[in-house]
């Protein structure tokens, strides 16, 4: 019986001991770095005193509030700067892994690349979400051209003045382009009443509420009335929509009267006649979409009613050519500046590569003075030693959209290039 009594006492003491040990363990070793009991980030702040000011800000990053400096930093050693636990472009995604959904229709470049600190202070800020600046000011610190355009617009769009985030999402949009919160039409219809008589009158009775508003209107403001884009197609200015579309009262008012170039040649017949007589056609001009592969039929921010800036537009099909330019050691100014038509005729040409002139030497000569650039013999009378059927011209040595070598040469150095023809100097 006394033995039974001791047994109970022993069991009680054993369990009490285990409970005490369990309670004492965290106090003895704080996390994987075995910090002193109760240390957390406080121990870091004993040296990093500048953080005491940070901690006074309105919005503090949650790990910092909890004193979890070691959530992002390794207190001992690291292969990454600032003793980061992983690369600076990956650290945020360790917790915020859903910011850019897989297969998102559009994503903010900085978010996709993990450059979160471009917008956020990783420790603390006086702005919500730890943003470096409040409101549009932050966006405009990078999107300077947009800022200037908005500022310079005669007719301003009120939501843009207020906050970019009224229409855009800052990280990624799963289903919409341009980081838009919803599709264009739904965004506009949140504010604009399309059932009002004035709306219908202004749009000549066409059911435009079913189409994309930004094909005519610049959502960021414009110097044209009704915030139409700065360059407006003449029939739209003169409210002659039925030159291209069916009548507003017809069964399918927004349908086009003809497809592709056949529609446009009704007015642009001179240009089309010239184009159609050329030997080499830029074929997309003749497909079902035709001219509006490249041009906006209503209005555009770009001259010539181009859909997008030329470099982006041409690069949407000729990705390899534009990518080559981006990799090039020596950028070719017309390409870098998106002035593709400095050398090419975009509709059609009698020349290879849709060049503006038959002679490549002449095309290049528009910017580069012959004989001042090089005294190497070039031209129609100089046969290329590598190939009896071609002559020596600028593209015999240079690839105009750039190469991985200097001066957009095909080969890594002058010697290697020159001995292609001047074989006797080969080493």
């Amino acid at each position: 019986m006394p033995l039974m009594k001791y047994k109970h006492t022993f069991a009680f003491l054993l369990w009490a001991g285990i409970a005490l040990l369990a309670a004492a363990s965290p106090a003895r070793a704080e996390g994987k770095f075995k910090l002193r009991p109760g240390a957390h980030g406080k121990i870091c702040l004993t040296c990093h005193t500048e953080f005491s000011e940070k901690m006074k800000k309105k919005h503090i990053h949650t790990p910092l509030v909890d004193g979890q400096c070691s959530g992002c930093h390794n207190p001992h050693t690291s292969s990454h700067e600032k003793l980061m636990a992983t690369g600076k472009d990956a650290i945020c995604y360790q917790c915020h892994d859903q910011l850019v959904p897989e297969g998102a229709r559009s994503a903010h470049k900085v978010a996709r690349e993990g450059k979160c600190v471009s917008c956020h202070d990783p420790h603390a800020s006086d702005n919500p979400a730890n943003l470096l600046e409040a409101g549009n000011k932050l966006c405009f610190s990078c999107h300077k051209e947009m800022a200037a355009k908005i500022e310079g617009s005669k007719y301003k769009h009120a939501p843009v003045q207020k906050d970019c985030l009224g229409c855009h999402t800052p990280h990624a949009s799963a289903d919409n382009e341009q980081l838009l919160k919803t599709d264009v039409k739904s965004l506009c219809l949140k504010c604009h009443q399309t059932d009002q008589a004035s709306f219908k009158t202004r749009h000549l009775g066409y059911p435009v509420e079913k189409s994309r508003c930004t094909s005519c209107h610049d959502p960021h403001g414009s110097s044209q009335g009704a915030i139409l884009y700065d360059n407006v197609h003449k029939p739209l200015v003169s409210k002659m929509c039925n030159q291209c579309h069916n009548d507003a009262q017809s069964a399918s008012p927004l349908a086009l009267r003809k497809n592709g170039f056949e529609l446009c040649q009704g007015c642009h017949y001179e240009m089309m006649n010239q184009t159609m007589n050329k030997k080499r056609m830029h074929w997309p001009l003749l497909d079902k979409t035709g001219c509006i592969n490249c041009h906006s039929p209503h209005a555009s921010a770009q001259s010539g009613l181009l859909k997008r800036p030329m470099l982006t537009l041409c690069g949407s099909c000729h990705t390899d050519t534009i990518a080559r330019q981006e990799r090039a050691q020596t950028p070719h100014p017309p390409v870098a500046e998106g002035d593709c038509t400095a050398c090419h005729s975009p509709h059609a040409s009698d020349n290879l590569f849709f060049m503006n002139e038959a002679s490549t030497v002449n095309v290049c000569g528009n910017c580069h003075d012959w004989q001042t650039h090089s005294t190497h013999p070039i031209g129609e009378k100089v046969i290329d030693p590598r190939n009896q059927n071609i002559t020596v011209q600028c593209m015999s040595c240079h690839r105009s959209h750039g190469t991985e070598y200097k001066h957009f040469m095909y080969l890594p150095d002058t010697q290697t290039l020159c001995v292609q023809c001047h074989e006797k100097y080969r080493r």
């Binding site: 050329k278 080499r280 997309p284 079902k288 099909c317 390899d320 590598r386 009896q388 071609i390």
Partner: protein
Amino acid sequence: MRKLSVSISIFFLLLGAPFTATAETAKLKHLVSIYADADGMKLQNPDGVACQDDSLLVADSGNARIVRFSYKNSTLATEGQYPLENAYPIVVQVDAKGAIYYLDGKQRRIGMLSASGEPKGYLKFTGLPAPETLIPRSFRIDKENNIHLLDIFSERVVSVSPAGNFIKSIPFPEEYGFFSDLAIDQRGKIFLLDSINARIYVENEQGDGFAPLSRNMKEYMNFPTGISLDRNGQIFLTDEYGSGLVMIGRDGSFLGRKIGMGWIDGLLFYPSQLCINGSNQIFIADRSNSRVQLFGLAEK
């Protein structure tokens, strides 16, 4: 019955294996470059080539002519040259009887020449369903001499008889970049080449549409504009902006690149159309080198 079907499957798998191996280990050998006809007239930016077992036709675009070469016992000889009036030939084809067809890049019409090179006017279509507008970007002639046109305006492939009578049309797939060329295999299946996405589509089993055969292969090539198949169904592409030849398996898988950019024999500079004869010899219109090159395809 099940055992029999398994045995048949294994037999065909074993039969298929050497073909795959051929594709992956194939070696190209430069055989000859054609610079001029027998009279010494130099080729100028030829865009098109068409070959039969014993002959080669060249669309000598810059000289506005078609040149016919015979190719017997590894020897090329000029058989004739046929100047074209107010035309700019960019694709050429020959039917089983030797009649010549070319796509005139200037008028976007199919011109015809007899086997001896006499002009036969332009191909006229009858019975074409709406829409009436047809703009051919390329075309091919099959074993029955029927003509298949890549109609970029109405987004379809139109098949007509040699007399131009409508046979059928197959709509383009819903999503694509831009189709530059088409090809036909030994069974008569049509293949389409999307240059922008470097992707190949193939006619479906029902023959009423096209389905992707390959994925987007832009990482392997720049801007392919020519497609042809050999007798085993292996696909060859000319990568125009990448100045090379690309080999694709029958299942649409990327097998490799051959030939590099350059000016000496055996290299390419912005090539366009290609054709493959029954002896697995590949003719390439090496356009910006102003020549046609012939390569032999052999196993390593």
